[in-house]
Amino acid sequence: MKLLKGRAVVVLRPNIDTDQIIPARFLRTTRREGLGVALFADRPEFLQGQTGSILVAGENFGCGSSREHAPWALLDHGFRAVISSSIADIFRSNAIKNGLVPVQIPDTSQLRGEVAIDLETCTVECEGRRQSFALDPFARHCLINEIDELGYLLAAEKEIAAFEARR
């Protein structure tokens, strides 16, 4: 995945925490699948009939809990990227591991309609206006090539064993 195009769903409220993304009562599951129905379950006004695959949210998106159910719910609902002026640390890490693209740009106010995210050049384009965003080179590499971090860690087995031996 290098290029992601989709329609923006704009929810500009700041501090959309993980409890708003997916309330805790939906965490009593042992599966990753099927959580789309729980997305914004108590905040139906967020989507208000908007449909699209790119969520444009207010600052500090995903703050709060470490629940990976948050990106699972967004992905299952059909989102492929989240754009915000700031994204909470654990949410961003969880998003990348599931192929949900986290994009941080200072000004999200112009984003509407069709949006294109280019992971190769790290740019967002909307209505002919292009903005660059910063993305960790490793995260970018993993997203583009669908690298699985567990596989990467397992490949470091010799180094891990050596570390354990010298401690």
């Binding site: 708003q20 500090n60 860690l153």
Partner: protein, 436 residues
């Protein structure tokens, strides 16, 4: 001469399997992995799908806390409010058996909230890296450890490799000075710090708490402070301990000074943990209307006297013995206001036994409160302990997000003293008035 290093630098360097480069994060070794029923089942599924084993079961300890009932057994059975919670707990038990992981299961002697039992069992030690699929893992930083919450994919990474891929966080030192006034506690200190930093102010950072106020705090108080680091967006919070200290002259990316000598008991008025004000203060004039309406408070008006329905004393923030003693100091010889429901939920079986041996359970029951079994309970409200829509609670937990304690519930975060004072008054009250 070796360069001065922060506590974070030292722990980080001591756990580097592979240092980070511009192109790739570090491979960081994990000393202790704590596991609970809600964020682990999908990680064990990954291991099963790939035919992997847990690399170090002896570095892994599990408990059941998030979705578990806090009412005692009925005819030998735990009264689960939801069948899927029971399935989750059974799944954890099966996964632990299959992989040889120590499990403190429901009803066993040392079961409790993961961040309460880790230190109790002597698992958390200075200089360690500690992780758990829970954002309040930062609690363990009180022991001079680097402790942070991880997602379920990362739970699988640690189970399989005992390692994580991590970029080194930025460092922030919050220096806290001043003696606390009577009725003011560690909870009030951290609520004031979060109000100052803002809920995103710590993003990307690990906070080290320093200064004489912190040095004077007990370990349980330090745990309360470190616990809520994530509410300012920080990855972790820590306090130097023993040989694990920041060197003189070490540089931090950011330094903040906080004077708490005139701090009042704090309480949040809004729907994020950064909205604390003095309990006898007024809701800010510029309070966002949506939050104020949700909470049923008026911008510019005082919070004192605001009617409440529920008081919750417990959680990994304030569910330890010293917290229960604080609540009991207010409730001893008093009755809770009529129509108010008070839940006292010890953080662990050990805390419960210790409290009972001091007679605290009797103090609570005599006052009219419910004395429950250990667990996360109404902090996350996924076990049946929940607010009804519109109900207001003074809660000693860590989050006041909309719906956090139950759909439509309103949460005012405060210390155990302030919560107990509210229980007696049936409304938000100043604990200093009761203690006077």
């Amino acid at each position: 001469m070796a360069q001065s290093r922060t506590l974070l630098d030292k722990i980080w360097d001591a756990h580097l399997v592979r240092p980070e480069t511009e192109d790739a994060p570090a491979i960081l070794y994990v000393d202790l992995h704590l596991v609970h029923e809600v964020t682990s089942p999908q990680a064990f599924t990954v291991l099963r799908e790939r035919g992997l084993r847990v690399r170090h079961p002896e570095r892994t300890v599990a408990t059941m806390d998030h979705s578990t009932p806090t009412l005692p057994r009925v005819n030998g059975r735990f009264p689960f409010a939801h069948g899927d919670a029971e399935t989750q707990v059974e799944t954890l038990a099966r996964n632990c058996r299959e992989h040889g992981i120590e499990l403190h299961e429901l009803g066993s002697r040392n079961q409790g909230i993961v961040h309460v039992i880790g230190p109790e069992l002597g698992l958390t030690k200075p200089g360690m890296t500690v992780v758990c699929g829970d954002s309040h893992t930062s609690t363990h930083g009180a022991f001079g450890a680097l402790a942070f919450g991880i997602g379920t994919s990362e739970v699988a990474h640690v189970l399989a490799t005992q390692c994580l891929l991590q970029r080194k966080p930025k460092t922030m030192r919050v220096s806290i000075e001043g003696a606390l006034q009577p009725g003011v506690t560690a909870k009030d200190v951290i609520l004031a710090v979060i109000a100052k930093l803002g809920v995103g102010g710590g993003t990307g950072s690990v906070i080290e708490y320093a200064g004489r106020t912190v040095s004077a705090m007990s370990i349980e108080e330090r745990m309360t402070v470190c616990n809520m680091s994530i509410e300012a967006g920080a990855r972790a919070g820590m306090v130097g301990s023993g040989a694990w200290q920041t060197d003189e002259g070490a540089r931090f990316d950011r330094e903040i000074a906080v004077d708490v000598s005139r701090l009042a008991p704090m309480i949040t008025w809004g729907t994020d943990p950064g909205t604390a004000i003095p309990v006898d203060g007024n809701v800010p004039e510029d309070a966002p209307q949506k939050s104020a309406t949700y909470m049923g408070v008026k911008p510019g008006a005082p919070l004192l006297g605001t009617k409440i329905d529920v008081v919750f004393v417990g959680s990994c923030t304030n569910g330890r013995l010293s917290d229960l003693r604080a609540a009991a100091s207010v409730l001893r010889g008093r009755r809770i206001a009529s129509g108010v429901r008070v839940l006292i939920v010890p953080g662990s079986q050990q805390v419960k036994r210790a409290a009972e041996s001091e007679g605290l359970d009797k103090v609570f029951r005599d006052a009219g409160a419910e004395w429950r079994e250990p667990g996360c309970s109404m902090c996350i409200a996924m076990n049946g302990d929940a607010l009804a829509p519109g109900q207001a609670a003074v809660s000693t937990s860590n989050r006041n997000f909309e719906g956090r304690q139950g759909k439509g519930g309103r949460t005012f975060l405060a210390s155990p003293l302030t919560a107990a004072a509210a229980a007696v008054a049936g409304a938000i009250a100043d604990p200093r008035e009761v203690l006077r």
